[in-house]
Structure formats: C-alpha cells, structure tokens
Symmetry: C2
Subunit: 272 residues, 2 copies
C-alpha cells in the first residue's frame, strides 16, 4: 500500500486507528480454547468486529513465536484474513547485518505479504536498507519508544551535534528512506515532544503506541503530531482486545474501537 | 549452562568456537533437497561432523523464519539435536517493551530451551531485564557489531560522559546483569578496540562474529580479548557451513572447524 492510498483510507473511514493483535492464549475467552486454532479464532472475531473502525492491524510477533510453529501458522492465517484495504504491520523489531536483514524482508514482505515491519535501528544503515528496496512496503524504525527504558540510550545527547540518539535516528535515516517507505515509532507517552519530533520529519507517518493502557493522551498527540496527510497511526492493543473476557468479547472490542474511531474522526476534522 | 561449566567445556575441548547455523536452503547441497526437512538434515550432518570442535551453536533466526512455520519446526528439531554439553544461542536480536520481552524469554529459554538469546539494547532496561531472571540462561547484548552500519549510531559520543553509545551499553547494562547471565556482541572487525572494550567488562564473555567471511583476525582478537576464563566465543558461519556444496560438505565443514579449533587450542595455551 502506498502513502496516498493509506491517506485515502484514513479520510474515508475517519480513523487512524491501528489495532495491535497481541493475542495471548492466557487472556482470550475460555470458550475459544476448544477451537482447533484459538488464537486465529480470536483474531478472526476481533477483525470481523472492528475492521470498519480501523485502518491498520499490527500483530506483535512475540505473541505468535511464543506458540512455536503453531503460532506461526496462526499468524499467517491472520494476515491472510485481514481485508486487503487494511494496512498490516509486523511488529517484529528486527534488524541484523545486511544479508540477514534481506531474509527477514523476504519473509515478512513477500511470503507473509505484510505492508510494513518494525525495525530496531541500533545496527545502522546496512541493517535497514534491505527493507527499503521493496516497492510499496514500509520500514517502521524505532525512534522514541513508549517504555520507561527508552530513556536509557535514546535520550543520550551527541557530543558532536547536541542531538539525542532518537533525533539522530530520525535525521540520519532520511538519507536512506523517504516518507513513502519509512515511518517512525514515537510513543504517545512522549506527547510533550511530539511537536518537536514532527519538525524533524514533517511528512513521515508516525506509528504511535502507548495510548490506553500505557496512559498516552490521544487528543494532545493528535494536535501536536498530525500533518497534512494525517501522518499518524495510533495503536491500541490490550484496551480493545481484552475489554471483555466473556462471550461478548468481540462486541465489547468493537465498542472500544468505535469510541476511539469517533474521537479520531473529530480530531481529523479539527486538525486536517 | 553456567559460566564455570562453559569454561570447563572450553578447556576440555581446547576450543571457543561457536558455529553459526545460518542454514540457507538455496546454499545447501542439492542432494539434500529431496529430504523431508532439508534444513534439519543439513544441520544434523553439520552437527555430527563438527560437534567435537566447537563449544556452541548459534542458529540465526532469520534463516528459519524465512521458511515460515516449517522453518520453526526445523529450528526446534535442531536445538533438540544439539548435544547437551554444547551451549546454544538463538541469534534473534529481539527486544521489546517489558511484558513482550517476557514472552520472547519464555519462547526461547523455556519452550525451545536455548541457553542464550541475542538482544538489541535500543529500548533500554525494561526491555532487557525480563531475560535476566531465568537461572543459568544468558542475555547477549549487541554492543559493537561487525557490520559497517555499526558506525552510524554505536559510535555516537555522549555529551555528558564522552563515551560512545556501545560503551554506554556495556557500562549501563552492568547495573542490570552480571558476568554470569550477560554477554556482549563485539565484532571481530573491531580488533583495534578489543583491549579497550575488555577493560570495560573484564569478566564478561564476548560473542565475536566477523572472523572468516567478514575478515576479522582470530589471533589478534584472542590476544586482546581473552580473560582468565577465556571470555570469548568466536563465531564462524558461512566459512564452515558452505566450505563445500558437494556431497562431502560435512567432511569439509569438519576440516574447517578443526582448523579453527587447532588455532584456538594454541591461543588458549598462549593466553590463559
């Protein structure tokens, strides 16, 4: 999917919601556990109930790898089940030497047909470039993450430039990719930094985790972070997926997703 | 496996060789492709032929994920096949927010029973700590990697401390883990830095990629990097695995592994 298609979907749906499919077998409703593939069954019902309110789904790979080969199959089925007009993100946080990154790129972009993959930037240019050569596929670089540990290294200031590490990541990587094939992860818990970060990358999309369970504020993130093509995909996982653990879980998830969607619709009208 | 067991194996075998099982179906001998699981069959024959010369095996996960659920099964069978006295490293370069890192830790340490896992440090303390709470399991943090892109961010000097990012990673992480549950990745291509890096972490093991295909020098790495308990696991992947692409591949791999082992035996005698 390319950038203008993504923006068209955002406008037509009035939503920039990304739903994180962090599906944990210990948290899904008990009645699903007798299904042949409980994780896929859960995802299927969540997708059926929420797809009109979101523009992206983001499975975090850890939840699938924790189930071994079986989890990998649930993931594959889930990606195939997601409607084609919805953007798909493999939240994998990969990154390795060049020839190895190429293998990850093929696995996620070609075999599984994800639109996008999250990448950790620590190993630099040659670990990132292999992902950027796939047409209409996206590399989403970790920049300033939502967790407390993000302060440990991401805030280190450079002696040479005075910029923080996450700022260097955002600036340097613009020599390698463009707003048409690269996005950045910026946690909603960094809302005070959003306006500043937006100046460093005016046209790029940001993938924003940390609204909901982690305490980020959607309206402030949106006011400070939106650009002319929206430029935001705001993620919510647990607050939607596990809003109820009963048989009505998909209806409750839909209600939570719809609530966020309505708020986003208002924010799009106010800020675009 | 704990540190003294690892050191005992190194002494009794006269080797600190780690063999990288970066098994690529497009590079393995053609006659194996008719096997039900060519990747596992290749690994099995490589392990049979080389296990007396090495103390560790390190599958890089990208090569298995590129094969989907099937690759995951080949990986599981491979780990189970490795003799119990050999240290196993999942080269996964993972790292995520705390609750997600916990899932990765369970997947690799409990379900697959790896001894160690490589981790990218970009997200900081809470992304690393979950891995450190497993007894006799190891977290191997990327510090100064062997690829050219390692210069992009790892060499950024801190305004506050004057130290480079990889030095900060080595020092800060020693508040979180110990030489008994943490190692560092230091590329053999950084041989000029080894003595200096050893001072920052005198007792830790270093996992050293980049000897062989990438051009690192084993004797210089060893002279500058060895500590009283050896403290080095030197990795070779392609130079051993693909030394021959004919039916004699395992014999040729054994010869390459034995050559490195003999050199290591001499270096252990000279430096310990």
């Amino acid at each position: 999917m390319n950038r203008s298609q993504l923006f068209e979907h955002i406008k037509s749906k009035g939503s920039y919601l990304c739903i994180g499919l962090d599906t944990d077998p210990s948290k899904i409703p008990r009645h699903l556990l007798s299904e042949p593939d409980p994780v896929f069954e859960f995802n299927k019902q969540i997708i059926d109930a929420t797809h009109e309110y979101c523009v992206a789904y983001k499975p975090n790979l850890a939840f699938y790898e924790a189930q071994g080969a079986r989890g990998w199959e649930s993931l594959q089925k889930t990606v195939e089940y997601i409607p084609k007009d919805i953007f798909t993100i493999a939240d994998a946080k990969r990154g390795d030497i060049g020839n190895t990154s190429s293998l990850y790129a093929k696995a996620f972009f070609e075999q599984m047909n994800f639109d996008a993959l999250t990448i950790a930037p620590y190993m630099g240019e040659d670990s990132i470039k292999p992902f950027l050569s796939f047409k209409n596929k996206w590399t989403i670089l970790l920049a300033h993450t939502s967790n407390t540990g993000s302060a440990d290294f991401q805030l280190q200031e450079s002696k040479q430039t005075g910029r923080k590490l996450y700022e260097e990541v955002i600036l340097r990587s613009q020599d390698w990719g463009t707003p048409d094939n690269m996005m950045y992860v910026v946690g909603a818990t960094r809302v005070d930094k959003f306006a500043e970060i937006r100046k460093l990358a005016p046209d790029h999309f940001f993938l924003v985790p940390g609204v909901g369970s982690q305490g980020g504020d959607l309206s402030r993130v949106s006011a400070n972070g939106m650009n002319k093509q929206c430029g935001l995909l705001v993620n919510s996982s647990r607050a939607i997926l596990y809003a109820s653990s009963d048989k009505d879980f998909s209806r409750t998830a839909a209600r939570e997703a719809q609530k966020l969607k309505k708020e986003m619709e208002g924010l799009l009208n106010a800020n675009l």
